[in-house]
């Protein structure tokens, strides 16, 4: 039997556009110290450190090496994972396997990105194969503009619904001391009057470039119970990638598209006896680069029927005090230090289970939560967390 694995320490930085006051290693160190303090451990208790970062976004080759001391990896085992937007969740998967395998009892996983060091969109536009794809790549904004347009056309959602999602995110972010964009938005008009990035995607419809880090301490069952009074169990994980030319495939004229989100959640739900996710899961922290994509993801993860995502928004189901809260933290549209973004989803979903989310703690009791990650050509990583196994 594999070892059971729990999250016993959670730490993140206060995310911002620019952190000129610290170097990248210093910034990551803030999250490392926060996670250790939360677990009431010192670095001596951590056996190995696994990291996530997209080196081309900062222009630093082997960034884990440059930060080896500050991430606490000095004289310790570890490696860096790098799978695009999903990296910060892939590293949780690797940490989970390292502990479940019995190779280590206590490890740290951490994601970081200091986007004030580089030019992320320039790096993303160079991601495609130089022969077949490069001319067609516009960075993430162009892809999600296509998504917004196709969702609008097939689901019947209006721009007002996207604005409602944006307002929900901002209400969460304003209550989250670590969130980056805290805009204090008051009306849908503010969203609807923000300028276009790529039609129909507006400035306030899309995630920012943030600098920040997030660290988690993972431990096997016996250690976990001795370290933490409130261990959060990683019940299961699922990773689904796909071939690159499906990047930006959002419309589904045939009704037969296999989205990675469908494949991932269906596998995860089946293994864990989840037949009605809205009932069997209490809340979710999902990776929504845009408000439009959030509505699509509700459908992809079977929180509702197809083309009904915007209705959940109208009904307030996914609000902090709703029946099925989604992204009470403010989500990715408020905070996006890419290598850390999926790690933050897992961290926030775990804080909700512990009841430690502070002002953005959801109204209902959370026993089971789901964290998702999105990256590369629409890849999906899911992490299912539970209060008890």
């Amino acid at each position: 039997m594999p070892n059971r694995v729990a999250i016993v320490g959670i730490g993140q930085t206060r995310h911002k556009s620019t952190r000129r006051d610290v170097t990248l290693p210093e910034m990551v160190n803030e999250a490392v110290r926060a996670a250790l303090a939360d677990a009431e451990l010192t670095m001596k208790d951590i056996e190995a450190v696994f990291t996530s970062n997209m080196e081309t976004f900062e222009g630093i080759y082997l960034p884990d090496h440059g930060a080896a001391t500050e991430i606490g990896a000095y004289m310790k085992p570890g490696f860096k994972v790098c799978t695009g937007g999903t990296s910060g969740a892939s590293v949780v998967v690797e940490g989970f396997c390292m502990v479940a395998s019995g190779l280590y009892d206590v490890v740290m996983v951490l994601g970081f990105e200091k986007q004030d060091c580089g030019e992320t969109t320039a790096a993303i536009t160079a991601a495609a194969t130089p022969i077949w794809g490069k001319g067609a790549v516009t960075g993430a904004i162009g892809e999600f503009a296509k998504q917004a347009l196709s969702y609008m056309e097939t689901s019947g959602a209006k721009e007002e619904h996207a604005a409602m999602v944006r307002l929900k995110a901002d209400r969460g972010a304003c209550k989250n001391e670590y969130a980056h964009l805290k805009l204090g938005l008051e009306s849908a008009e503010q969203v609807l009057n923000s300028g276009y990035l790529v039609w129909p995607l507006r400035m306030l419809d899309f995630c920012p470039q943030s600098s920040g880090a997030c660290a988690l301490v993972l431990a096997e069952e016996k250690k976990a119970r001795s370290i933490s009074r409130k261990p959060v169990w990683i019940a299961d994980v699922e990773v689904v990638h796909q071939e690159p030319f499906r990047a930006g495939t959002f419309a589904d004229p045939t009704g037969k598209e296999a989205y990675t989100q469908h494949v991932a959640c269906e596998r995860l739900y089946k293994r864990n006896g989840i037949t009605n996710p809205r009932r069997d899961i209490d809340m979710a922290e999902i990776y929504e680069p845009s408000n439009w994509e959030e509505m699509s993801l509700y459908e992809h993860f079977h929180f509702c029927e197809r083309n009904q995502g915007w209705k959940l928004v109208e009904q307030g189901v996914t609000e902090m005090d709703g029946d099925f809260p989604v992204n009470p933290s403010g989500g990715v549209i408020a905070t996006n230090p890419i290598g850390a973004t999926p790690t933050i989803r897992v961290a926030e979903a775990a804080l909700q289970i512990r009841g430690d989310a502070g002002a953005h703690q959801v109204a209902k009791d959370v026993k089971t939560s789901l964290a998702s990650a999105l990256g590369g050509p629409n890849w999906t990583v899911l992490t299912l967390l539970k209060r008890s196994l």
């Binding site: 997209m54 570890g78 190779l103 060091c117 796909q242 690159p244």
Partner: protein, 381 residues
């Protein structure tokens, strides 16, 4: 631990200076196809793929994106480790041991020919305090070589003997890029790149890939008659700033080796291990790493190479394949060491076979002066 993990098949491409004829995926698939054929698996039988590549060398972000179809990851599980490929094997091992997956494909690929080595490596130095100095891995290695030679009295001739041995061994390895029949004098007469490192003290620019199938014990019994077991593994980070390290002592490697030996139950590595494959990008590194691995005492590796005990037919042959010096790319070299160690244990190493090999060591390193070190112990029992 519940179970053991086996390496069921390994393959590598012929290493070449420029693979302009193939994309990264096509190049990787040359190795992948072999491990699939050998095990009778198809890509749909693979539970998970762990790849290893570096975005900087690839010249684009998410460098694993375009190899997805070649590793069977369409609607499947793939992860990318961004250190040397030996760490991807380690990652795949954890996926199997955890019970999460049963059959994992591991693949490492790099085309060094696509990037400017010095520029890529310079980007690894701290951007505020060190990058402006213009250092790359070669100039840093020159500092390390100087410090090591000064501290322990290692001579240029002793470093050159590593080159003569490894380039000579490469003549028996059909995958090696640049086998050479040379003498110590040839090495010492080659052009200075960064004193004391000469052209023949380092490796040529290289393109290539390496693949392996890992499986749980139960699955491995069905996939191969000659499973090779991963008995011990560890890795270790050193400090980043060169001034924070004594470059003549490889503390991280010592620590990684001690952990791997403990896990594998090895007490006297030089006596117990039958064959070692070590990642030596520069000739002095084979000597220094042998000290870190505990094959001899500090400063004694010069005498060890003089003794001939690490040659083919010696007590502990080191790099029968010809090593990294004979031409393996960054990021792939350490995984090739694993593959070569596995071939030795299976008795499939052809003319470079070490007779009766039953316990093998593979070593990989990443970064400036080997800042990140990894050791893996493989065995037949």
């Amino acid at each position: 631990m519940a179970e053991r993990v086996a390496i069921c098949a390994v393959a590598q491409t012929k290493f070449r200076p420029d693979r302009g004829d193939a994309s990264e995926g096509e190049m990787a698939y040359e190795a992948i196809r072999h491990v699939l054929e050998e095990t009778g698996l198809t890509l749909s039988d693979i539970d998970s793929a762990v790849s290893c590549s570096q975005d900087f060398w690839d010249g684009r972000t998410i460098s694993n994106m375009n190899i997805q179809p070649f590793v069977g990851a369409h609607l499947g599980h793939e992860d990318k480790v961004a250190e040397d490929g030996i760490n991807a094997v380690y990652c795949g091992m954890a996926q199997v041991l955890s019970g999460y997956h049963e059959i994992v494909l591991v693949v490492a690929h790099t085309k060094e020919s696509q990037a400017e080595k010095s520029l890529v490596e310079n980007a690894a130095f701290d951007p505020i305090f060190m990058r402006e100095l213009g250092l790359d891995f070669l100039s840093a290695a020159a500092l390390q070589a100087r410090r090591y030679m000064y501290k322990y009295g290692i001579t240029a001739e002793q470093c050159a003997k590593v080159v003569v041995k490894n380039r000579g061994n490469a003549r028996n390895n059909p995958f090696a890029q640049e086998p050479l029949d040379i003498t110590v004098d040839d090495v010492l007469a080659s052009r200075i790149l960064a004193s004391p490192i000469r052209k023949l003290d380092t490796k040529p620019i290289s393109d290539g890939a390496c693949a392996a199938i890992l499986a749980s014990e139960k699955k491995a019994r069905k996939l191969t008659e000659k499973p090779v077991w991963i008995l011990g593994v560890s890795s270790c980070y050193e400090a980043h700033y060169l001034g924070d390290r004594d470059l003549a002592d490889c503390a991280a490697l010592t620590k990684a080796a001690q952990k791997a030996y403990k896990m594998a139950g090895i007490r006297r590595p030089f006596n117990e291990i039958s064959v070692a494959e070590i990642s030596e990008e520069y000739s002095y590194q084979e000597l220094l790493w042998m000290e870190g691995l505990g094959f001899c005492g500090r400063g004694e590796a010069g005498r060890l190479i003089d003794s001939g005990k690490t040659q083919m037919g010696g007590k502990l042959p080191v790099n029968p394949s010809g090593g990294m010096l004979s031409g393996n790319p960054t990021g792939v070299a350490g995984m090739v060491r694993v593959a070569e160690a596995a071939l030795q244990l299976r008795g499939e190493a052809g003319n470079r076979q070490v007779r009766g090999a039953n316990l093998a060591l593979a070593h990989g390193m990443t970064g400036i002066c080997g800042q990140h070190q990894a050791v893996m112990i493989l065995g037949t029992n």
